[in-house]
Amino acid sequence: MAEKRIRIVVAKPGLDGHDRGAKIIARALRDGGFEVIYTGLHQTPEMIAETVIQEDADAVGLSVLSGAHMTLFPEILRLLKEKGAEDVAVFGGGIIPDDDAARLKAMGVKEIFTPGASTEDIVKWVRDNIHPRQ
């Protein structure tokens, strides 16, 4: 049986409109052979958790450049857990200071990519770390 293709939701939570990075990552992941669902802008944590469940995604990548990451990331983690989807890998990127990134990882975010990260590195990280959910 062919291996199931990994499905990734790329999401823009909050009011932040900076979607240059999210779109580039979505395209790069798609070119890297993953199935990508891009949510578009201005998603609430509820909308994102709902999309992850409906799309039966294996991972969700969050892009936040507005400084609201310490509110939005934990809320999405909480909602995924509430919906029994805590095994969905959450990763993200944006303007996220190092100490915040460390705190987010301690809460269960798998990886944080910051400005200057290459799409090559991100695709490789996804390939090595994201596996189809059971």
């Binding site: 779109k23 609201a68 939005l72 303007i95 910051t114 200057g116």
Partner: protein, 544 residues
Amino acid sequence: MRTREQWLRETYKQAAERPARFSTVSDMEVEPVYGPQDVTRDFERDIGYPGEYPYTRGVYGSMYRGRLWTMRQFAGFGLAEDTNARFHFLLSQGQDGLSTAFDMPTLMGYDADHERARGEVGREGVSVTSIHDMARLFDRIPVDKVTTSMTVNCSASILLAMYLVNAERQGVPWERVGGTIQNDMLKEYIAQKEWICPPRPAVRIVTDMIEFCARKVPRWHPVSISGYHIREAGSTAVQELAFTLADGICYVEEALRRGLDIDDFAPRLSFFFNLHNDFLEEVAKLRAARRIWARLMKERFHAKSERSMLLRTHAQTAGASLTAQQPLNNIVRVAIQALAGVLGGVQSLHTNSMDETLALPTEGAVMVALRTQQIIAEESGVANTIDPLGGSYAVEALTDRMEHEALEYIRKIDEMGGMIRAIDTGYPQREIADAAFHYQRQLEERVKTVVGVNKYTVPEEIPIPTLKIDHALEEKQVQRVRRMKQQRNWAAVKEALRRVAEACRSGENLMEPICEAVRREATVGEISDVFRTEFGVYKDPGWL
């Protein structure tokens, strides 16, 4: 005369050439050298002198010899009183105009106490929910003496109303209030992505503001037609130029349809361009922008007044060009970009701070950024001669080429039926996303270099201090807004909101009803909710 082709064959090809792609940051390939054959043969028609049509060399006769550009640093964070303190600091340091950054809830039309504002209050700009916040923001700042720029778009009508009502309270009549509000909704759908309702009603509100200011607030610039965000979203320099001017064409056409005379509003239209790393490309872009706009206004829209033909512009160095790695290098980038703006003849300038890829800037970083402008203005000598690069074969050839390529885009958008139609089909959005992806590929393939990121990297970074926004201030602002809502006369607010809704439906100019609602303490979120109900909500099509 010996041609460039002969020289290329006989001399250049005999010499060594690095294995590099010789192209601008927008990936426009450039020649090894330019000569007289590459530039326009009609000096008077295309280049001329400053302050004279087609204004390629500058909009004013004496340019910086008459008055230096306005040094206008964008600032805003936390509560209104925090930003007010930063404003007073900047004015004390020799800055001569203010520029306000609002937080995301304010920019998107939500009150600080709204569910969607959680975690975003005061984070990337100042939180303004009601007239009381506006009064705190401009406390002890005389609004008849200091001009203010407000970067806000879909909720711009409300923030302008608040600014004007605050002026009333300071005893300053509207005719004496000067400043700029960004209010360029078209580029929101194209690039910055802050919106409430769909493009057509959004442009109607913009047109209401152009009309209202032409009649009641004559010193105000009701729209700042912006390429800045288009470029930040990843466009090329030519796309920035073309889409910005195409947006301008759309606003002009809408105002004319409203029955306004071109010369009654065109002199108050202003522009806002990006200043990226590619020095000559940026200078050429600004020179081309002035020439195209002047010709459009004269030939296409039959402006009679010379003032209608002037493309007066603010500019800001490119935020997206700054690097989190080795952040001190950003000071150098900003200096080069700012110099391009000055040699390109801008009217006002914001220089970014070195730490802005990490957080909002610290006071120390803002100081270096402001000093960069002061060094260019008062030490470098470049402000002594107007358009000193004019006549350079390379700069004139690039100016011609950018004009030509931008006009090609503008023609395409005209054929689609104008910018609103183009946006509906996703045309500019896709062009920009493609350019952004192309540039990212070039970075990863190391065709393009970003020092400290894909070349000359260092294993360990020395951290620089960054500004931390206190989480507690959100709670403070939320409580303050809730208290204000309980104490005001709700019946009076409701009646005023009903009048705004009525104007939405009847087509009456929205600004007077919005000013009245603001006087009665209606909030940004409540008035935006009227727009949501009356005009509908725009959803991101999510094109990749």
